[in-house]
Amino acid sequence: MTQPIISLSGVTKRYPGGREALTGVSFQIEPGEFVFLTGRSGAGKSTLFRLIAAIERPSSGSVLVAGQNVGSLSARGVPFLRRNLGLVFQDQKLLFDRSVFDNVMLPLLVTGQPYRDSARRARAALDKVGLLDRERANPVALSGGEQQRLCIARAVVNRPSILIADEPTSNLDAEYADIIMGMFRSFNQVGVTVLIATHDRHSLEQGRVVALDHGRVAA
């Protein structure tokens, strides 16, 4: 039996003001799994995403990611946890003051890898999402779908063992959503654990579904 790569037990997140976004959430994800986290807006998907990425800490319960307890992780430890995660944000968080290529370079430069190796890996990542010919463009010039692909390239360039995406297909048409999902699947096939938060029911054919409802795991 392998150790789960993500493990939540009894996780509650309460925001100042008393609103409880998550209540006693427990579930586990094994390495190499492909999991959908579903639920309506406000069900707590984004909160869960932020807890796993150590952007926020649980009010109670424990969040274990790759064996590390995110709740008790020191500020120094957070960057090293995040280097092991590929994050695709709902609001994308692309930097529009630099090229597509430089956006993908950022996670590599941050870890202090040599420029040449980094450039090669950045191009490989752009190639995987089909954006290699746009590397000099500014992200502003990309279509919505291309921007989403750029986010994926940035998330996987570090070869993370876990890929987490928050509503990656929310503002794409069905056809484009399929292309994006196909990319996640291909990463999953080479062993990356994938967790996708989505309210989009139609893309859930393959993979395990964890449904959230009002901050609780629905049966």
């Binding site: 120094r76 995040r82 994050l87 968080k93 941050v110 420029y115 570090n158």
Partner: protein
Amino acid sequence: MTAWLRHHLQSLQQTLARFAGSPFASIANMVVLGVVLALPLGGYALLANLQTYAGSLPTEPQISIFLSPSWRAEDSALEAQLRSAPGVQAVRFVPRDAALAGLKRVPGLGDVITSLRENPLPDAFVVTLGSADAETAARLEAQFRALPGISIVQVDSAWVRRIDSLLKIARTAVLMLGVLLGFALIAVTFNTIRLQILTQREEIEVSKLVGATDAYVRRPFYHEGVLLGVGGGLAALGIVQGALLLFNTDLARLGPIFGVLPVLRLVSLPDASAVLVFAGLLGWLGSYLSVSRHLLTVQPH
């Protein structure tokens, strides 16, 4: 170790690129710092010049004794009295004709002297004292004044000491100015870095989300602070050296009118390096304070 060095190089590159991206803003900042630093630095340079000038003046304590016209050179009793006074090292007699001849040699005064119908100068003794302390000089001054046939007794080293103490006060003033304006430099970098952090909010946030350590995020701002400080120091040196050179050309032009005037020495290389290092340190301190204060507010959300 290599990763650490690479970080530094990358961050330095970024900072330089940022400077190059908005050259006017960066240069304006450095000029502001330069002006701020030029004040104490200029004061220091002028003081150093005054001090060497004062140092070239005779500090050996002398007492000039001007005799009344009724005194006759044949009366050697006075000289013997002067010689025997305790604390006196040497006594030199300057006859009035010799004094006049000496004045004639001073450039510009020759014509005036020859136009005089008679020699207005008195005979004089120049007494050199054995020690430089003010007490001895004062005691001897009083003692000589009481002697018959003497009109004026003048302690020549007194004004040198006065200059010396004035210089000391000026040095304190320059030091205070330097400390105050050092704070100003810290404040200016503090604010500049604060603005920089605000404009780079997004980049900082995204960098943190993709695994940047705090040190990585802070580094470019430290580099920027140091570069700002050093740039300001260079500007200050430019301003001060330029001003000194300008003064020197003026002094050279005035030379023929006033006789030999001292040439101002420029800020020396060791002093200049010290200024740059110091300015860099202050810039670093300003950015350190700013980063510690403001970077905490930039967190991914």
